[in-house]
């Protein structure tokens, strides 16, 4: 899949072979390219530019909500003000978000890989039932208040482990499907050879299979990072309270707090978008490949 997207591919000939003469074809291509770039800049570039440029302004200028070049630059002051707001709430939120994301990733890799491994290797009468559970996990919207009730009963409501376990439970089905899909490419003869050499079943998984699953684990890391970091709904329900803010919750709260200071709101939007941007720059192709993995057979 990644190979296909990375460029070693076969293009469709719809756009390239419009005209029969060579110069005609060239002109047509230039026109098509210019049109595409301009349209993309207008539809996708302008909103990015709008947020960035307003984060540079002072309160007065940003209240005009226009895209004019700022008369003076205030980004550093704005960042400072956002960070110190409410006793450095955003710092605490950053710590919480990082913890939740990191722990969810670790748990998802271990639990997901173990489950995907067995589900691919062992096919029995109950396999269709497991498949149904995986599909149900992808489709069914989680029940909110009963989940809060369960969390309260076991004393995990409004706690970090509680929200982590929720994120893991909701992201597990897709993670397991990814691992199960990749297991097909690891030959069974490898397992057999290891067993004959006297390898135990747990060592087989942890020392031989798990390291071979690295490519999927990389995908799981990137996908979980994006989905858990950006998650708003679950922390809103299961991790409420000022102490427990995540970055998305702080941004949401600042929306009503900065109703007249839009430059600070845009600065906050900008700060929160930096981690995804870094991830995107480093893992661009990995993300695209991971997100489309398993979807197109």
């Amino acid at each position: 899949m990644s190979k296909v997207i990375l460029g070693d591919y076969k293009a469709n000939p719809i756009i390239d072979k419009k005209s029969k003469t060579k110069t005609g074809k060239k002109l047509w291509n230039i026109f098509i390219e210019c049109f595409g770039v301009l349209a993309t800049l207008a539809i996708f570039g302008i909103p990015f530019y709008f947020v960035v440029i307003n984060a540079f302004k002072n309160t007065q200028e940003s209240s005009l909500l226009n895209m004019k070049w700022p008369s003076s630059f205030h980004l550093m002051e704005n960042i400072q003000e956002v960070i110190t707001a409410r006793d450095g709430m955003i710092i605490r939120a950053f710590f919480n978000s990082a913890m939740i994301t990191g722990l969810s990733i670790i748990l998802l890799i271990i639990l997901g890989a173990a489950a995907g491994y067995v589900l691919q290797r062992k096919v029995t009468k109950v396999t269709p039932f497991f498949n149904f559970l995986l599909l149900a996990g992808l489709i069914i919207p989680p029940a909110v208040v009963p989940t809060i009730w369960v969390l309260q009963e076991i004393g995990l409501f409004k706690t970090l482990p509680g929200i982590v376990l929720i994120e893991v439970a909701l992201n597990l089905p897709f993670t397991i499907i990814l691992y199960r899909g990749f297991m097909v490419t690891i030959p069974r003869s490898l397992d057999e050879a290891a067993l004959i050499d006297g390898c135990g079943r747990f060592r087989l998984f942890f020392n031989i299979i798990l390291p071979l699953l690295k490519p999927v684990s990389a995908t799981v890391i990137v996908l979980t990072a994006v989905s858990v970091y950006n998650d708003f709904v679950n922390p809103l329900y299961f991790f409420p309270g000022a102490e427990n803010a995540t970055l998305q919750l702080t941004l949401y709260n600042f929306m009503s707090m900065y109703i007249t200071k839009w430059n600070l709101l845009f600065t906050n939007v900008l700060l929160i978008s930096i981690p995804p941007l870094i991830l995107f720059i480093i893992f661009n192709k990995k993300i695209v490949a991971g997100m489309t993995a398993g979807s197109v057979k």
């Binding site: 296909v4 067995v118 029940a143």
Partner: protein, 288 residues
């Protein structure tokens, strides 16, 4: 070897994942069926039968959620399929700027919904927002995007498409690029043009990609909450309330039984539409 394999691949490996899945997802889902029929305060409950469901279906401020949720899901998934397919065709060509355009279109997928919602709420401001300023420059009087009850839902749906079309596009690109070149060559020999390429090769052979986009975006649309909550909070009035936002409002108001009933209704609606759609699309795939 079979016996050995049975011992090696023990279901014990499933246990940790199974426990987390059961306790934090399956159990609450099953409990919701019961608690939706109660008057509930989290510590105490009283069985009231189907009363909550009756309230949900009869109260106009609650049952507007059905209509809105369906409109929202159909509009967002429909636009994502059409635009994603066209962009997919465009971006799987040999043009030089493809990488740049694809990155720009895909990047919003990774941004937080709240951030996107805030930016567009500002841009859709009726008098100061840049969208209307640009429109008035063209001599058009722009509408009050989020304040007009007739179009507010569609405005939010458009923002959803803006954020999500990149995902649909890369799935289509992957699907289109896996089509063997021979088909195009065969069609060329038969004298087919670009339209024939699109109609007879790309559409039928990118079918698996299309099915994925339809299912992902339709289910996503039905369950959608964050964007509408950031941009309109269900308003003006109740005109943009989705089932998911009603669930949150009832939860906030302390009507836990009613909120859970909303959850069960959403659960039934999503399952009733998604499972048949899933098997229907899969069947069609086999027929090809």
């Amino acid at each position: 070897m079979n016996k050995l394999a049975n011992k090696t691949y023990t279901y014990y490996f499933l246990l940790p994942a199974g426990i987390v899945y059961f306790v934090f997802f399956l159990l609450p889902t099953i409990m919701s069926l019961f608690f939706s029929m109660t008057w509930w305060t989290l510590t105490d409950w009283e069985f009231i039968g189907l009363e909550n469901f009756k309230t949900f279906l009869s109260e106009p401020s609650l049952n507007i959620g059905f209509k809105n949720t369906l409109i929202y899901a159909v509009v967002t998934s429909g636009l994502k399929v059409i635009l994603g397919l066209l962009l997919g065709v465009y971006l799987s060509s040999k043009l030089k700027t493809v990488g740049f355009i694809r990155s720009m279109i895909f990047f919003p997928t990774l941004l937080s919904t709240i951030a996107v919602g805030i930016a567009f709420t500002m841009m859709m401001h009726p008098s100061q927002g840049i969208i209307n300023i640009v429109l008035s420059g063209l001599g058009i009087v722009g509408p009050d995007w989020l304040g007009d009850t007739d179009i507010a839902l569609l405005s939010v749906a458009l923002v959803d498409v803006w954020k999500g079309v990149g995902m649909a596009t890369v799935i289509f690109i992957a699907g289109i690029m896996s089509i063997p070149q021979d088909y195009y060559e065969a069609l060329k020999i038969d004298g087919g043009n670009a339209w024939h390429n699109f109609k007879s090769i790309i559409i039928p052979l990118s079918r698996p990609a299309m099915n994925t986009v339809i299912i992902l975006s339709f289910i996503g649309g039905l369950r959608s909450f964050d964007l509408i909550w950031t941009m309109t909070k269900g308003g003006p009035g109740f005109s943009t309330d989705l089932i998911a936002s009603i669930i949150y409002k009832q939860y906030q108001a302390g009507f836990f039984g009613l909120s859970t009933a909303g959850n069960v209704i959403l659960f039934i609606l999503v399952s009733a539409l998604a499972f048949p759609l899933y098997s229907y699309l899969n069947k069609k795939e086999v027929d090809l």
